[in-house]
Amino acid sequence: MTADRDLPLAEFDALRARYPQGFESSLVLPCLRRIQELRGFVPDSDIDALAGYLSVPRVQIEEVLSFYTQFKREGVGRWHLMVCRNVSCSMRGAERVLDQLSQRLGIAEGETTPDGRFTLSTVECLGSCGTAPVVMVNDAYHENVSVEALDAFLARFS
């Protein structure tokens, strides 16, 4: 068991062994994903530690963190609601879903409820257009979300 602040180096070593030799740089995304799974976001202290572990420039990790939409630099609510608002979802009610979620939770897009239960975000196409509208909640897709049954939908996340 590693201390909370340490990187999970045994896991990272196993990952490293799986990739071809000389592919340390390729481990930036998988390692950051794992750090975020453990912490909920990627704190500054881990950037230095990871740069040291992989022997990559610190700025490479900073660039990656700011480029990819899934990486978070600060914590979010216990349930992160990500509403797809691309073409097919909008054609199936995503705009009303977003509007209703915002009203019911009393927060705007990008905000977290005061009790820390929900964060509301919008995202672009999740590749779930046939079951639109789709809301990603933490890691899981929730498909065919019904505007009419949003109370029941929200009740699933306590």
């Binding site: 990819y68 995202v123 897709y141």
Partner: protein, 432 residues
């Protein structure tokens, strides 16, 4: 049923994605046959002879891509399956990843044999949760069974396949951006030449193929190129997985035989337009392909020549059905917001142009549009065409030019009356 099938040939059950079920369907027998009876060169010849075109959007012949890789050139080669499915409207590779991951793995091993690859990758978009778990599970099953990372069938050939997850970026679906991302950096696309098959991942020869393209390789080698060419049209053989969404009664993933009649597909196979509404137009293959009106597609078939003859493309197979009464101004607004959000920022015309176009359309929707705005959007689209490293700037232009060419009157109306002719409607309002 829309013609013959090559991929969706089994019933999807709770276990159809597992190694045991795949083996019961004859899985990995083609790999064994190929390794025992064919040279790597034979495999590439067969794939080239099949005439299969890439299913990711560009329709480039897969065999010609493979032929560029020089065998026994003393350097490592890499293979990467593009599972970064992110073109809006597209969700067909997900079907393969969730339901037939071993078909992809077996196909990749055959490709790896042909291309002398020791390490292959599946670059899968970061949001895909179940598809990733199914793929990762299949990889672990194959490793445990001695199929991956172990010499196969008494030969010296062995190859490992690694599932590598993205983290949210549209541009990483572009092959060179994908490889830059796989190198652990921002997914910036690269200038070509050199082609990726000459200098790809870490500057080594790399083949990047779409998941669906690769998944056809088992069938091509099992039954031969001639059998593959007997399906579809003469110039565009095989089948396509079409993911259909929007205002359609039965959205989902369908396998169609290439050349199948378009209206028949929508009206009969997919249950017609939502709530029995009239068809206004269709986006054929992802939002980066030009919109075609109901009249345009009336007599068209679903194949490359037919759709390109009408000025658009089958693209990624992500078809979006749009009912009469839908506001095309709002639709374009959604698209331009997306392109602006996803521009990687490397090239000035795209980085600036996407922002300009997004701001112009927002202004029009806010009732502050100016008469010169539409020509300005067309100018920006032209400026982007061919002036950027990757095709994203071009794609946003195609979408814009396509909609303005067919529906300019709706934009003029909004600018003049400061409101939508169709109440800003994106949902299909007609009740059943």
């Amino acid at each position: 049923m829309p013609g013959r099938k090559l991929l969706m040939t089994f019933d999807v059950t709770g276990t159809s994605h597992t190694l045991a079920d795949y083996r019961a369907r004859g899985g990995y027998a083609t790999l064994e046959k190929v390794l025992r009876e064919m040279t790597p060169g034979d495999v590439t010849k067969e794939v080239t002879a099949s005439g299969i075109q890439g299913r990711g959007g560009a329709a480039f012949p897969a065999g010609r891509k493979w032929q560029v890789v020089q065998l026994r050139d003393g350097q490592p080669h890499y293979l990467c399956a593009n599972a970064d499915e992110g073109e809006p409207g597209t969700f067909k590779d997900r079907w393969i990843l969730e339901n037939a991951p071993h078909l992809l793995l077996e196909s990749m091993l055959i490709a790896a044999y042909a291309l002398e690859v020791r390490h292959a990758f599946v670059y899968i978009r970061g949001e895909f949760d179940l598809p990733y778990r199914r793929l990762a599970g299949a990889i672990e099953e194959a490793r445990a069974a001695g199929i991956l990372d172990a010499p196969l069938f008494g030969t010296e050939f062995s190859c490992d396949i690694i599932a590598h997850r993205g983290a949210g970026s549209y541009v990483c679906g572009e092959a060179s951006g994908l490889l830059t991302s796989l190198e652990g950096k921002r997914g910036y696309p690269r200038n070509r030449p050199p082609r990726l098959t000459v200098r790809g991942l870490y500057q080594r020869p790399t083949v990047v193929n779409n998941v669906e393209t690769l998944s056809n390789i088992v069938g091509i080698l099992a039954n031969g190129a001639a059998a593959f060419k007997a399906v579809g049209t003469a110039k565009n053989p095989g089948t396509r997985l079409i993911s259909i969404s929007g205002h359609v009664e039965k959205p989902g993933v369908y396998e169609i035989e290439i050349g199948y009649p378009w209206r028949k597909f929508i009206d009969e196979d997919c249950g017609g337009v939502q709530n029995g509404a009239a068809l206004k137009c269709v986006i054929p293959g992802g939002i980066s392909t030009k919109v075609l009106t109901a009249e345009d597609i009336a007599s068209l078939t679903l194949d490359t020549e037919s759709v390109e003859g009408a000025g658009s493309s089958l693209g990624s197979g992500g078809m979006i059905v749009i009912a009469e009464g839908t506001c095309m101004v709002r639709l374009l607004q959604v698209m331009l917001r997306f392109y602006h959000h996803e521009s990687c920022g490397q090239c000035t015309p795209c980085r600036e142009g996407m922002g300009w176009m997004h701001r112009i359309i927002d202004r029009i929707v806010a009732g502050e549009g100016r008469p010169e705005d539409l020509d300005q959007m067309l100018r920006i689209s032209r400026m982007n065409d061919g002036t950027t490293i990757c095709g994203m700037g071009d794609a946003a232009g195609y979408a814009t030019v396509g909609i303005l060419a067919k529906y300019r009157d709706e934009f003029d109306y909004w600018i003049e009356h400061k409101r939508s002719r169709h109440d800003g409607n994106l949902e299909c309002r007609r009740s059943s």
